[in-house]
């Protein structure tokens, strides 16, 4: 019984083993290994061009590693995408311009064939977009577009959520509000999330672990555990512990860039 349990132990959500990636002669990622367990929220921080987006794209099966391997739930990323286990949201919202907010979310369900996953209208309402469901993407503000974009990434209930600087293009206030909002949304599920960001506060507010990447070619320079309570409200974010974590992440980032 115990043997059986051990042998069927679930593989990690993401297993990156000694992955390198170069475009032409340009080495972007140099030997990264990391392991993400199910239900973890991982933040990847690093300077611009350090290869964090490339790493995320490789996890989504959009790029192939030059060497090394990536496994998503014990399978290659292509198998994970064909099983509709991955949801992605990029920095610039990737919405179909000819479809309304609601139609965009519905389209994701239609393509993945998982019509029973979530009710798109309820999801958008839950995202505070009840009045905007019939608007076309160009009629939505940047923050609203990004919320629809994240709704598209979540609606088919993927086991792994990949977020590439989803708040990078937004103004400070909208961004802070959306970070709070996302923290609330994701707290409700036990989904595994990989977030690429260049904001240290965002990383500490949302994640359970932070990986700090070096300058290009990217390596993992440091790993910071975030043992904060699940609900990180304003009070938590004013605490010594939170500020200390932000400080140490920032120090790690600075020394990673200085190397």
């Amino acid at each position: 019984m115990i043997d059986h349990f051990l042998s069927t132990q679930a593989p990690p959500a993401v297993n990156v083993s000694s992955v390198s990636k170069s475009f032409a002669d340009n080495s972007v990622i140099d030997g990264i290994s990391l392991r993400v367990e199910k239900g973890e929220f991982i933040a990847l921080i690093g300077a611009s061009g350090c290869g964090k987006t490339t790493l995320l794209r490789m996890c989504a099966g959009l790029e192939e590693p030059s060497s090394g391997s990536i496994e998503i739930f014990g399978r290659p990323p292509s198998a994970a995408t064909s099983a509709h286990e991955i949801g992605v949201a990029f920095q610039r919202p990737a919405l179909v311009p000819s479809r309304t907010a609601l139609e965009n979310v519905r389209l994701t369900l239609k393509i993945t064939g998982s019509n029973d996953a979530m009710d798109p209208l309820a999801l958008l309402t839950h995202f505070g977009l009840a009045e905007a469901v019939d608007r076309y993407p160009h009629q939505l503000s940047g923050g609203m577009q990004q919320r629809v974009n994240i709704a598209c990434a979540l609606v088919h209930q993927p086991a792994l959520l990949l977020l590439d600087e989803p708040f990078g293009a937004l103004d400070e206030i909208t961004r802070e509000r959306l970070v709070d909002w996302l923290a609330g949304i994701l707290r409700e599920s036990s989904r595994t999330t990989l977030l690429v960001t260049h904001s240290v506060e965002e990383a500490i507010t949302l994640s359970t672990r932070v990986f700090v990447m070096s300058r290009r070619p990217g390596r993992i320079a440091a790993e910071i555990k975030v043992p904060l309570p699940t609900i990180r409200d304003f009070e938590v974010r004013q605490s010594e512990q939170f500020l200390g974590l932000v400080r140490s992440a920032r120090d790690a980032l600075h020394s990673a860039i200085a190397d």
Binding site: T81, F90, P97, T112
Partner: protein, 256 residues
């Protein structure tokens, strides 16, 4: 000022200029017939004018239909077969830059007394803006959107139907504004060379007969048809592509 007011002012001021030129130059009606004589002729010969308009329109619309068929088929074929695109590009470039006026004469010789050479002239003149804009529309798709659809394991057909084709539609619609108008001009041009009917034939006849009034009447009809083609294209664009942001479109029009 609304565009309707502007259009009204255009018609009124054109008439004023017309009469003014005749008055100042003391021009005989054979040289420049006044508007009321042209209108009188239109009232008198409306049957033949209508019939010839119908003939020209048939050529224009038939040619335009095939031009669209050619443009859409080629654009989609180029999208999925790179080799075909490379092979076809010199053909397209040569066809596009051919002096149509001289090629029209070749077509008349080859196809003889039939509507085919005239329809071919319309296709040759109209297909290129349609093809070029469709290709551009397919190419200008947000790469993020394609990436997202790939992570959803979307099929090639789904990608085409939900992403590529809707993205190309506004470009395609913009091409109609140019190409549909040219189809009228192309049909008239084709009739110049060899025809027994149509507005182009009427122009040649009226010119040979020194019938200024008939010449002007025919020209007014051609101009009206072109304007109607443009209006229809703009209307179709508004109805069929409701997601097109209006503001940015106005900006681009102001810029051009």
């Amino acid at each position: 000022m609304s565009s309707r007011t502007a259009a009204f002012l255009f018609v009124v001021s054109a008439a004023i200029v017309w009469y003014g030129v005749i008055a100042i130059g003391h021009l005989a009606p054979t040289v420049l017939p006044p508007p009321h004589l042209v209108l009188a002729l239109m009232a008198q010969e409306w049957r033949s004018l209508l019939w010839n308009t119908y003939v020209t329109l048939t050529t224009a619309v038939t040619g335009y239909f095939f031009a669209n068929l050619v443009a859409i088929s080629l654009a989609i074929a180029f999208l999925y077969f790179d080799a075909l695109k490379s092979l076809a590009t010199p053909w397209v470039v040569v066809l596009k830059n051919l002096p149509i006026v001289s090629v029209a004469s070749l077509l008349i010789i080859s196809f003889g007394d039939s509507p085919i050479p005239r329809i071919l002239v319309v296709i040759l003149i109209c297909f290129h803006p349609l093809l070029a804009n469709l290709i551009k529309g397919f190419e200008q798709v947000d790469p993020n959107l394609i990436a997202r659809f790939r992570t959803l394991h979307a099929s090639r057909f789904q990608l085409f139907r939900y992403v590529l084709w809707p993205n190309a539609l506004p470009y395609y619609a913009a091409a109609h504004e140019v190409a549909f108008t040219s189809s009228i001009v192309a049909a008239v041009l084709a009739e110049f060379f060899f025809s027994r009917q149509g507005l182009g034939f009427m122009l040649i006849q009226a010119m040979n007969d020194y019938r200024g009034d008939r010449l002007w009447a025919t020209n007014i009809i051609i101009a009206t048809l072109s304007a109607a083609a443009l209006g229809l294209s703009v209307l179709a664009e508004r109805v069929l592509i409701p997601w097109q942001p209006r503001e940015s479109k106005n900006l681009s029009k102001r810029g051009s």
